[in-house]
Point group: C2
DNA sequence: CTCTAGCGTCTGGCATGCTAGTGCGATAAT
DNA sequence: ATTATCGCACTAGCATGCCAGACGCTAGAG
């Protein structure tokens, strides 16, 4: 008997959340370890230890590592081992180039048509940013910073771009964790964010794109300086 | 005994081509079937038949399908089946938006600094395009079109962007195969390509970005019209 | 005739054992 | 002491068997 394609739209679409498989859990666990820095670049990943620690067989672990290899967070060397990917400063530059291209285009789109309620959320986020910057709350500001950028993308319903940007952020996050960014940047980052939001708010598409570009150019410069100051952390 | 991270740069880097694993072969096989249209959107993928036809066990097939699910070419419904992903016209629009953002930024970069020998290859490619357009050779022109865009990205050594764009092209290629694009577009596509190359050649970064943007806006319009003419092929 | 409840069959998810290939280290030869 | 060689221990890749869940069909109740 042949099974059918999903009849009409339906099924568990939205209604029931498909529970996370074991492979998903292992994936999240390893990914978190890598992003938090618990697993350093170049470190070997001991599958068997993971199996025992998480109480699963090698199958979910293998699947999870394959997924991580697909997004370039680990490299698999056949018949040798799996290792946490090293960071090449060349790649960091390219990630920022891609991010700049995407986010400035998205800001342009947002300047053309962004739902009003999203604009309200952005303004609220900005007020929190101001508070966090004033208090020198680096961790809080960073979380708000990430939310700010996500709000714009999600506000336009751009799912694919959101995924690409999340992937880029994963890699960049790893750099940021290892080498903390300077706290003195908070106020200027806040004002750059404000300029972006203002341009979007007044429907100035070109201005929004340009403001986002300038903002990410600044961010790129920070990464460049960090990389130059810590040459031992990078390859290439 | 703990294994070590890859000693210095090392190993089979470039020297020995790492042979394709069975999972890789299966991956390529299925992907080709999907992109060529042999497997229609929504079709069920029969793992066991694939196992027998390719003479492998279910493991490589499962790994391959997982990878394809990761790049959204198939959807896995747990305990039910694996299906070729359907195409949403909304996604097509977003793919083109991402492509426009990336490629126009890359064209800008190319206008700033593109190696001379790459520029030579591009000009050669353009001459072939002209010949193909004059002869009405649609298939040949399409191949040259793809190469034209790849030449610019690869000429700048942008590996990550190249991968993202290849992923996008996979999806868009599927649309193009199903619904052939109008042959009358060849000459105009050629002249748009020429404008892009000319701007890059004279080091006009802003002009190159703008020409690429205009070119992909045209392409987007084609896709939009195709989608409007064939509403039954798309969902959403 | 309609609707519901249960069963059967198919699927993907997972566990486990085996194979082939790799780098490292010890040992031997110079 | 230095270098070449061989073996060993470990890895990822693969095959296979089992399990639980989801869908479709059917039989029975209304």
């Amino acid at each position: 008997m042949n099974r059918k394609p999903p009849t009409s739209q339906k099924r568990l679409a939205g209604s029931r959340e498909r529970q996370a498989s074991k492979a998903d859990q292992v994936y999240r666990e390893i990914k978190h370890s890598i992003l938090s820095g618990a697993l350093s670049p170049g470190a070997a990943i001991d599958k068997i230890a993971l199996c025992e620690r998480l109480g699963v067989s090698r199958f979910p672990v293998t699947a999870a590592i394959n997924r991580l290899a697909f997004e370039r967070l680990v490299v698999i060397e056949p018949q040798h081992g799996s290792f946490v990917a090293r960071i090449a400063s060349r790649d960091v530059r390219e990630w920022m180039l891609i991010r700049r291209a995407l986010e400035s285009e998205i800001a342009r789109e947002a300047g053309r048509a962004l739902p009003a309620e999203i604009m309200g959320e952005i303004e609220r986020n900005l007020r929190y940013q101001q508070a966090a910057a004033a208090a020198g709350d680096v961790a809080g500001f960073y979380a708000l910073d990430v939310d700010f950028h996500k709000l714009i993308v999600d506000g336009l319903g751009l799912k694919q771009a959101r995924e690409i940007l999340d992937g880029l952020r994963s890699h960049l996050e790893r750099v940021r964790r290892i080498l903390l960014s300077p706290p003195g940047r908070l106020p200027s980052a806040y004002s750059e964010h404000s300029r972006i939001a203002a341009a979007i708010g007044r429907g100035d598409a070109a201005g929004a794109a340009e403001a986002m570009r300038a903002h990410l150019d600044e961010t790129t410069a920070i990464f460049e300086r960090i990389a130059a100051d810590h040459p031992e952390t990078f390859i290439g």
